[in-house]
């Protein structure tokens, strides 16, 4: 018998496990290792602070999400020993592997920033990237009567790089509906030099922030938070005052990656950007938020990667060369408030462009433009996630990005269209 082990059964690990169980022959034992009893649908966290009460629908017992023939060890991994091909678990047990997939994700680390996790944590300082944080922020927003709300991204990379803006758009709508928008200042403080990294999309999103009266403070390298003075302090000594801080803390990969010497400074794993094999390791692959790839850390990316990775594992088993098939494809809905959303579809080389998706000229989704259908798409995504993506069923969208339906425009043309 041979062993294939997967570390982490979040979005990426679950999809790969369910794909591989159908592909692998019966002489392979397929094991996933994950300590958490539940699988959390993280995109659902965005809506909780604004009064959504669907906590029960965004979590599932892990056992329900893993197909038959997948063994689950409910323990945290402490170390990987690539030379002995062994995974050490907490409590001195170990699992041997012939092939290993690392899908242990990316995790918020508020303790990395001085002042963030002191006495004001979850009082005047909140986060929504964890279930606990999102629920606490829901209470804080219900009680909020006016003042300055600052949303800060501490450092890149973060997962779902559009979520901070979605949060602000939804906050704008939330306070308008409550009739107190004129008493609330919304400020987006980011280390990036614009609202988004890709130029055409940046024009669109910056314009929308402005229209909604959300102020943008860029290139802010967060040095520390002063919880008593209620301000953010940057390395170049700029100060931003807040009444309520919504923080997207520093993200890091899992500890065991650093401890095993497999990670970079942030514990993300150097990975081949097209084959998804870990650099310098013949028997280890990685996908999802755990890698150091220059693609977005998003569930859609993990989905496209899971197809490529499954094919490459099967090729590695047969002794064939790996396919260079992963192109950085990402597909993300961006909630814009009042029942509308944008959709962006892009890869390593092609930035988000306007157009229609997935059927050229028809849609039903509009790329880089607001529509009600896009919003319905975002809401339907939860159902799709549990019922199609996680069981690794076939979808009519290819892993690789397609140019069909996209209009090639420049930053300048987009600017003209925006005014």
């Amino acid at each position: 018998m041979k062993n294939l082990s997967i570390i982490g059964a979040g979005a990426a690990g679950t999809m790969v496990a369910n794909h591989l169980r159908r592909e692998l022959s019966a002489d392979w034992i397929l094991t996933v290792i994950d300590p958490a009893p539940e699988h959390l649908y993280q995109p659902g966290l965005l809506f909780l602070p604004f009064g959504a009460r669907d906590e029960a629908k965004i979590r599932r017992r892990r056992g329900r999400t893993l197909g038959r023939g997948v063994q689950w060890i409910q323990r945290p991994v402490q170390l990987v020993d690539p030379d002995k091909r062994k995974v050490m678990l907490e409590g001195a047990e170990s699992v041997s592997y012939d092939l290993l997939v690392i899908a242990s994700g990316s995790h918020v680390r508020p303790e990395e920033t001085p002042g963030l996790m002191g006495s004001e944590w979850r009082r005047s300082i909140h986060d929504f990237y964890t279930l606990e944080g999102a629920l606490k922020l829901r209470e804080a927003l219900t009680e909020f009567r006016g003042g300055r709300i600052v949303l800060n991204v501490a450092e890149m990379p973060i997962k779902c790089p559009v979520a901070p803006m979605e949060w602000l758009f939804l906050a704008d709508a939330f306070f308008r509906k409550r009739g107190i928008r004129d008493r609330v200042e919304l400020i987006y403080v980011t280390p990036l030099d614009g609202a988004f990294t890709k130029p055409v999309c940046n024009v669109r999103l910056s314009h929308m922030l402005k229209q909604k009266g959300i102020h943008l403070e860029t290139e802010f390298g967060l040095a520390e938070v002063d919880p008593d003075g209620q301000k953010l302090v940057s390395y170049d000594e700029r100060h931003v005052q807040y009444d309520l801080l919504v923080s997207i803390p520093v993200h890091k990969g899992a500890e065991f990656i650093g401890a095993s010497g497999l990670g970079n400074d942030m514990n993300f794993i150097p990975t081949d950007k097209h084959t998804l094999r870990v650099k310098g390791q013949d028997h280890i692959f990685a996908l999802g938020d755990a890698t150091d790839l220059p693609s977005s850390k998003a569930g859609s990316v993990a989905h496209f990667q899971s197809g490529v990775l499954t094919r490459n594992i099967m090729r590695a088993i047969r002794g064939q060369s790996l396919l260079m098939d992963f192109d950085g494809h990402a597909n993300c809905f961006i909630e814009t408030g009042f029942g509308k959303a944008l959709l962006i579809d892009f890869n390593y080389d092609v930035q988000p462009l306007p157009g229609k998706f997935p059927v050229p000229g028809f849609g039903p989704f509009t790329l880089l433009g607001e529509s009600r259908v896009n919003h319905l798409g975002k809401l339907a995504f939860r159902w799709l996630y549990w019922n199609f993506l996680m069981p690794a069923r076939q979808l009519p969208i290819s892993d690789q990005m397609s140019m069909a339906g996209k209009q090639v425009v420049t930053e300048e043309e987009m600017m003209k269209a925006a005014v």
């Binding site: 890149m156 990379p157 990036l192 030099d193 390298g221 040095a223 940057s234 970079n264 400074d265």
Partner: protein
């Protein structure tokens, strides 16, 4: 993509001004890019960072991110922001003739 002339040499750069071929970089080019970005003249401290970035990229096969520079170059974060204002990770990479670090994507 476009062609620019730095330190008397014509080189290809991408839309954001990063050199396409890191082997074509020379110290004179660093001075010229620094001039263009308003950083000139480069001090000894700047050169310490540039030297670290070049060496680290040669060793690791990719441009170091800001966190790595602050940890290993001997120049701390606060000072990096003084030397390379606004986006030090990006700016240091550009002046060192390296691609934009992936942590900035």
């Amino acid at each position: 993509m476009s062609i620019r002339s730095y330190g008397g040499q014509s080189v290809e750069v991408n839309d954001e001004g990063f050199l396409l071929d890191q082997a074509s970089w020379t110290p004179a080019m660093a001075e010229a890019i620094a001039e263009e970005t308003g950083l000139a003249p480069l001090t000894e401290k700047h050169w310490k960072v540039i030297a670290f970035c070049r060496e680290d990229a040669a060793r690791e096969g990719q441009a170091p991110g800001l966190r790595r520079i602050a940890k290993l170059s001997g120049v701390d974060m606060k000072e990096l922001y003084k030397l390379f204002p606004k986006g030090p990770g990006k700016l240091a990479a550009r002046i060192s003739g390296l691609p934009k670090p992936t942590s900035c994507v």
